[in-house]
């Protein structure tokens, strides 16, 4: 598993979610925080929010 994927899994994402995020160039929590909802929805489907661990998405919530 690539290093970015491994860290995302360590933060609570599933292996499938981590792989999808990294493949889409969203391998860092900051990338996820800065991505639009449309982008995340495209990558992860409509239920993207529930697929991301709270610690990963926290910075996104802070920014919003």
């Amino acid at each position: 598993m690539a290093a970015q994927e491994d860290k995302l899994v360590h933060l609570g994402a599933s292996a499938e979610t981590a792989a999808a995020l990294v493949a889409a160039g969203l391998g860092l929590p900051a990338d996820i925080a800065n991505a639009s909802e449309e982008t995340l929805e495209t990558v992860l489907g409509e239920e993207w929010a529930s697929l991301i661990d709270s610690r990963i998405s926290r910075s996104r919530e802070d920014q919003e």
Binding site: G27, P29, S59
Partner: protein, 327 residues
């Protein structure tokens, strides 16, 4: 501090024959390579004030040092136990200043090296300033780097140490920063970006303008940071700003804050861990009062996540033991 207490396990040394003469009948004692961490590791010497100093040399002879740390880094190899030794100079802001400090903004891109300021007589160490206004003295983009024994300043403004991991081109992680002094000219002393397993020990943050240890809340967050035995003295915005700091330890630190001491507003000028999870903050001392509530009290000076998920244990205010997480 660096004068007497730079702890480097298995410090590789250049054996100098006048100091370590060979012994008859003992194989190997006539070698000049001396004790090393690994058989082929090397020690590079940097002294910009040495007579005739230049970067156009090997750098492993203490009598013929290199002029710049940047040149020394280029001569290091990853994970070979290579060490860069920087000699002390009289560039401290209250010193005669007949010599020049290290004035460089370098990127450490070799894994597993150590950059050490050696100062047999001072608690502060060799002075290191960024190469230009607003720059950062050391950017760590490699794994397993140790930085110890320096006095960081920034007379033109700027930052001291920045480490970043992105898993692609930047690998700043497992960083050790020990026995360093960050003076009142520094804006951000240490910034970590997605750099896990970093250790910051026995450092002094002396009136840094913005942050002692900063983790960008819009960044990717930090896990497994260990901060111990540090002194934070009137750091401007926050001694530690860790709003995305998780699973970390802050132990045995002292925080002096003049605003808190004088019961003036000191909002999050101590440890701002609002949003942090699963951290242990233990055995620290603060120049504030227990929750009143009032300006400059425990809750004003520090913050924890809401709901709190960290353990603040055995931390003392001026009037007693704090038994609640700061809010």
């Amino acid at each position: 501090m660096p004068a007497t207490d730079v702890r480097v396990p298995s410090w590789s040394l250049q054996r100098l024959k006048p100091w370590y003469p060979s012994q008859y009948g003992v194989p190997g004692t006539d070698l000049t390579t001396g004790l090393r961490r690994y058989p082929d590791s090397k020690v590079l010497y940097v002294d910009p004030n040495a007579t005739g100093v230049t970067d156009q040399r090997d750098g492993t002879d203490p009598d013929a040092p290199l002029a710049t740390v940047a040149a020394a880094i280029t001569k290091c190899r990853s994970w070979h136990g290579d060490i860069i030794i920087v000699r002390h100079m009289d560039a401290w802001q209250y010193a005669p200043q007949t010599e020049t400090p290290i004035q460089e903004s370098v990127t450490v891109d070799k894994h597993g090296i150590a950059i050490l300021g050696v100062s047999p007589g001072s608690p502060l160490g060799p002075v290191w300033q960024p190469g230009g206004a607003g720059e950062t003295a050391i950017t760590v983009a490699a794994l397993d780097v140790r930085i110890a024994g320096f006095c960081f300043g920034a007379p033109l403004g700027g930052n001291a140490i920045y480490s970043e991991w992105d898993g692609a081109t930047l690998w700043g992680e497992n960083l050790v920063i020990e026995d360093c002094f960050f003076d009142d000219e520094v804006d951000i002393a240490i910034q970590l970006e997605y750099s896990w397993n970093c250790w910051i020990r026995r450092c002094v943050f002396q009136e840094c303008d913005a942050y002692g240890i900063y983790i960008d809340p819009a960044g990717s967050g930090i896990d497994y940071l260990h901060v111990s035995d540090c002194e934070f003295r009137d750091v401007g915005t926050s001694a530690i700003s860790g709003r995305v700091l998780d699973s970390s330890e802050i132990l045995r630190c002292r925080v002096w804050n003049s605003n808190a001491y004088g019961a003036a507003a000191a909002t999050d000028e101590g440890f701002d861990l609002a949003g942090g999870d699963e951290n242990i903050i233990a055995d620290c001392w603060f120049s504030c009062l227990l929750p009143v509530p009032a300006n400059g009290d425990w809750d004003d000076l520090n913050s924890d996540g809401a709901p709190a998920t960290s353990a603040w244990i055995g931390n003392y205010c001026m009037d007693g033991l704090a038994v609640t997480n700061p809010t």
